[in-house]
């Protein structure tokens, strides 16, 4: 297996992930749904990440505003600062940053958790005892990620815009009302809806990659670390690829 060429290994991996995804959808729509477990996972994935995501978003909003200011001042377009900052935050920065933070926190968490369950043969024990581990472990986590990451992104939007508001007021003077007026003036549904839509896919990518890597963990405790690590790397990469696809689709649909 180690001796196989890189391309073959990559293609095998892609095929495995696809098969895993199809299996997830099969399990999602068939049979009983573990609702309580979904709530528990949503709490851990969503609520527990809020502090981290909120802090990151606040800092991003503040920093982007402070960074953009000199360029806009050069053009004499200082009044455009809230508009420009809100567009870049809502459309791109907040969804991607949120997804990346979640990939780091949730993706690695899921990968390590499922990996350790795999290597300690808990998953095998579940199968033996008649519980469907795919349904109980994977489906709940992926669905929780899909549902909570968009919510996290939305709250992060709010916090980042607040950071932007503070950033505008470090050197200039923009009133609270004017700031929000400009934000809502500039942003349209074609800015907000694609941005929120893509966070569902980001969430799905984070959840499914974390689960796949953890579920297929090998080689003892060393494998757990590898799974966690690879989950973060692949999920992050996938987020950017999805972002690229999302922007193309939005462009084709005229949602610019």
């Amino acid at each position: 297996m180690i001796n196989k060429p890189a391309l073959i290994r990559f293609l095998e991996e892609a095929g495995d992930i696809t098969r895993f995804t199809l299996r997830f959808f099969r399990e999602l729509f068939h049979g009983r749904f573990e609702f309580n477990e979904l709530l528990r996972q949503s709490f851990f994935i969503g609520y527990k990440s809020l502090g981290l995501v909120g802090l990151t978003a606040f800092i991003m909003g503040l920093v982007i505003t402070i960074q953009s200011r000199p360029t806009l001042v050069e053009f004499g377009a200082e009044a455009w600062l809230p508009k420009m900052v809100s567009i870049s935050l809502i459309r791109e920065i907040v969804p991607v940053i949120t997804a990346l933070i979640c990939a780091g926190k949730i993706g690695s968490g899921i990968g390590a958790e499922l990996g350790s369950m795999r290597v300690t043969e808990q998953i095998d024990a579940m199968e033996v005892s008649g519980t469907n581990p795919m349904k109980y472990l994977v489906v709940t986590r992926v669905v929780a990620a899909v549902l909570t990451i968009p919510l996290l992104a939305l709250l992060a939007d709010a916090i980042a815009l607040y950071g932007g508001y503070l950033g505008c007021n470090i050197h200039g003077a923009v009133s609270w009302r004017l700031f929000w007026n400009q934000v809502f003036e500039t942003n349209t549904y074609s800015d907000v809806i694609p941005a929120i839509t893509k966070t569902f896919f980001f969430g799905f990518a984070v959840g499914i990659i974390g689960c796949y890597k953890g579920y297929n963990s090998r080689k003892g405790t060393e494998g757990v670390g590898r799974s966690a690590n690879q989950a973060v790397v692949i999920a992050s990469l996938l987020i950017f690829i999805l972002d690229l696809i999302a922007v193309q689709i939005a462009d084709v649909l005229g949602l610019t």
Partner: protein, 322 residues
Amino acid sequence: MKKSISQNARLGIFVIAGTVFLVVLLYMIGAKRSLFSSTFRISAQFYNVNGLMEGNNVRFSGINVGIVEQVEINTDSTIKVTMLIEDKVKQYVKKSAVASVGTDGLMGNKLVNINSVKNGSIAHVEDGDILNTLKPIETDEMLRTLNTTNDNIKFITGDLKKITQKINSSNTLWSLLMDTVIADNLKQAIVNIKVTGSRTAIITGDLQEITKGFKNSKSLVATLFTDTMLSSELENTILKLNVSSDKIAYVSGDLSTLTSKMKSGEGTIGMLVTDSVFANDLRSTLKNLDKGTKGFDDNMEALKHNFLLRNYFKKQAKKAKN
């Protein structure tokens, strides 16, 4: 289980907060796009919309009141723009209002400006009305005009260049320009002109006063200036004076001839005046005559006392007494 309930509650807060923000965001954006308030439609036909798009803002006297709903080609020369306007501004937009395509700032989005016209109609717009339009300012046209201006400026600057070259090469002009004496003289002259001017002003003021006095008073001068009858009489007088002076001249001419003749001793008076011998003769004659008269007086006394004539003289004395 307790832990799970508190977890669920916190999860609930998280989910609700996120959802509320989403709803608020979508609502606020929608409100800005006039999607939730009640609206009405008006349209306008433009010749050129300069890239106006659906969703662009519509402003009434500078306030956002709606959006462009539809931009469609009507005929080969008219573009129909349908606008969605908030109901609350209906009462302010009159039927005579004028729509024009403008730009938000220098490089901003296109928008439709609706402006009221002075002394326009009083009736409010209604749903489906078609507004009058103004031709938008086109950048191309502006650039074309600028191009012509540029060409003209090119010619003018060329001419200016030639003129300055000529001025530079002309020594006379330079010496004139560099001469400080002329400048001083000019300065002095201007000062003088100034003084003269101020004095003239004073004089004219005085003159004005005088003429005012003339107009108001009935003095001789005023009459002279104002009475037309007097002037004709004066004319007559002057004519007569003229005639009499002519005569005087004639008389004085005669007089001068006479005196000259007298001086030269011609005629009796001339001789009387000029001949000193004759004057002596005349003086001695008068002496003799005086003597002769005295003798005659004695003779007459003697005659009175003569008896022959005594009676005659007495009668004469009686007559004188009575």
